[in-house]
Symmetry: C2
Subunit: 436 residues, 2 copies
């Protein structure tokens, strides 16, 4: 049989009660969609055997694949085993091999297996267990038979660190996407343009009947263009089609594109600097360390990123980055002049090729009312400066929107984009949220 | 009628396809649960009128309240209006007041209303529109009648920034939790102890039939204890019960508790320092700015948090924090001695009352094999030091587990917890993940 329509079932009181955020359903959907299997529904039910049994039965009638997570622990609340057996009109037996694996897991940690964990080796008589290398809970597989068709059910434990490797090793190899269909996806990442402006640039490419499909998603200022082909063409022809569409997207929006696939904005900055053997420093006021944190999210950033200053107080702007007290007094800490002085002072003191400076009002408080001498400084006002050893400095003014977290993330990412454009010698643009 | 059992329905291809993470269902569940209305199921369906109509009908048969989000935009994909009308066996009419609100929204932004937005003013003839102050999409309310009972349905647009204020202003006031039932919740936050060790301390208090219910949730090292009463007692009696249980939890686990309710670990550190008019600085190696970022997530942190150094390279550990090259050479950057020198050097140079230093191997690479002179330094090894103007320094060694992000978050939070315990004069503990 082939798997065409999939349902994702999540189990747990902590999910329905809103104590835990479900990230598994999204992850499963991404995996399935990229294989050409369409996820048609996500369902979350509590630790309740009747609700869970009913969900298995209903989903089996509308899908030919169910991926379930949760409810496989050793406690009385963990009822996936019972519900699956009930939905299959089957009973549970102990699986000797699974019991051995549970025991071995504890033995490897020098504990005896608590007796309560024995239930984790139960499986429906017609099902089988799925090994779990990262925890005590084996998964379960069974085929449910509805009035009209069979439905394959895979049950995995809830923790992402357990279910992801189990899916890769023991579920994915058994999935059979519809035959004669090719699915290929390509993603390009932009920064500096809004989602609706990008949609206007791409125009008819984004209509629902365009082949391949072109869609955008936005998160914290990064707008990603997803190009997706799903249809009867063979892989080479599909690739050609994606190549052609990607070329069109690049022709229309190329000046905003910093990467593709798994690329990140900090990663693009680090790679561009590495290519020139340049080093980077930072000096952060309102972002308080976030810019440095983003640059060091990527492993192996230490050859490029040296470090920097967090100058949250004005005293440290002077002490560490050498910003003159007179400048702070005359223009205020959130000003073009101070941003520039921070970047240039930090670059010199850190001895790096480049330095990025951020100073702004992240909110919700801190807005400065207008005076005779100066216009008002609203929440969201951010100045970002780049100083470089072998190139003129630049400074830009932004009016960010949203809450404190948004203002700070957009500020840090805008700083990264400024440096990336400089390093990549990308054409000058006016950034989204940049103001005169 | 009263609302006892609620279902949460989310609508959108971007959700079922796994492009967007659904955070709305968790948020709705939290709100409902804290009112005493039990969320019994979360469902996500694509932009498909048949699937959505079927979901409304099915959920109305098992719940007496449905909160739906998404599918209220102006495009052809937005089908919540049609599906709701179909489920109610009703037709759609234009609501003049809603149309006026959509027009006014555009007028406020100095745009004429695009003709396509006119569909957003449609509602089932027996339903009503719910005003949206933050966007163009009005919400919808209708009562569905099933064979056995009525079910109230509230439909809101998908963006959290729109649906949350709409829920507060126009949904919550209409919800009727079961009468004669009181729901009260209290949350205490701990750091430094694992979830299972805490469960052993709390012992029988955590059994499923304990009144009030006591449960734990863990996230990035913070383990929270949730105490919840739901039952027939009046508010004062319920509060007494919660007080008694809270007192027992504090007696058993008090030395790990840093806050309650909305308190955060950085917030607790800032408050404790503020109470003594102390200032704080940081010097970060493997966390690269994350500690500073966490301290500045809280608005108004500038009176306590001065700033600090990001010393990702060894050169900057010497240049900025004054760590001697000889010390770096003899002990390595990830060592007790260097952590201490970083903290003491930074505190002196920053002129703060306290400084926190973090140096470690965040991974996935960077492990140092053993030599004749030194034992191996595995991924996850982190040294954290605190230096203070008026108290002896301390330094602790940790062996963190998990991926790079986990190692860094646990490191930053452990540093905060060390300072919090010092400021709060909390008794000495061995932290979770701390090793000799």
């Amino acid at each position: 049989m082939h798997h065409t329509r999939a349902a994702i079932l999540s189990v747990g009181d902590e999910l329905t009660l809103g104590q835990t955020l479900d990230t598994n359903s999204k992850w499963f959907s991404e995996q399935l969609r990229d294989m050409g299997i369409m996820p048609i529904e996500h369902v979350t039910v509590p630790d309740d055997v009747a609700a869970q049994t009913a969900a298995f039965a209903r989903l089996a009638s509308i899908a030919d694949l169910i991926i379930c997570s949760g409810g496989l622990g050793p406690t009385l609340d963990d009822l996936t085993r019972q519900a699956l057996a009930a939905a299959a009109h089957d009973t549970l037996i102990e699986d000797p091999e699974a019991l051995e694996q549970v025991r071995a897991w504890f033995a490897g940690r020098k504990y005896p297996m608590p007796e309560m964990n024995r239930v984790q080796a139960l499986r429906p008589t017609r099902g089988r267990c799925i090994p779990n290398a990262a925890g005590t809970a084996p998964g379960l597989y069974i085929q449910l038979n509805t009035a009209t068709k069979p439905c394959d059910v895979f049950c995995l434990p809830g923790p992402p660190s357990e279910l992801r490797p189990m899916f890769e090793a023991h579920v994915r190899p058994h999935l059979r996407p519809p035959e004669g269909r090719t699915v290929q996806t390509r993603v390009l990442h932009t920064f500096g343009i809004g989602e609706s402006a990008l949609a206007r640039l791409l125009d008819t490419m984004m209509s629902r009947d365009h082949v391949p499909m072109v869609g955008t998603t936005a998160s914290g200022g990064v707008v990603s263009v997803r190009i997706r082909y799903e249809g009867p063409l063979d892989a080479a022809a599909a690739r050609q089609l994606l190549d052609a569409t990607e070329a069109k997207v690049r022709a229309l929006a190329g000046s905003y594109i910093f990467g593709a696939g798994d690329d990140t904005l900090p990663g693009a900055v680090l790679a561009a600097a590495r290519g020139r053997s340049h080093t980077i420093g930072v000096v952060e006021s309102c972002t308080g360390g976030l810019l440095g944190k983003l640059l060091t999210d990527t492993p192996g950033s230490s050859d490029v990123f040296a470090g920097g200053f967090i100058t949250y107080s004005n005293r440290l702007k002077t002490l560490l980055a050498g910003v003159s007290p007179a400048l702070l007094e005359s223009h205020g800490a959130v000003s073009r002049e101070v941003a520039l002085a921070m970047a240039e002072g930090a670059r010199e003191r850190l001895g790096t090729d480049h330095a990025l400076a951020i100073t702004g009002i992240a909110g919700p408080d801190g807005a400065v009312p207008a005076t005779d001498a100066r216009p008002a400084k609203p929440v969201g006002l951010v100045y970002i400066a780049r100083a470089s050893l072998a190139a003129p400095s630049e400074v830009r003014r932004f009016q960010m929107v949203g809450d404190r977290e948004s203002v700070r993330l957009w500020a840090a990412r805008s700083a990264l984009a400024m440096l990336w454009r400089h390093l990549a010698q990308a054409p000058a643009i006016k950034f989204l949220r940049e103001v005169e």
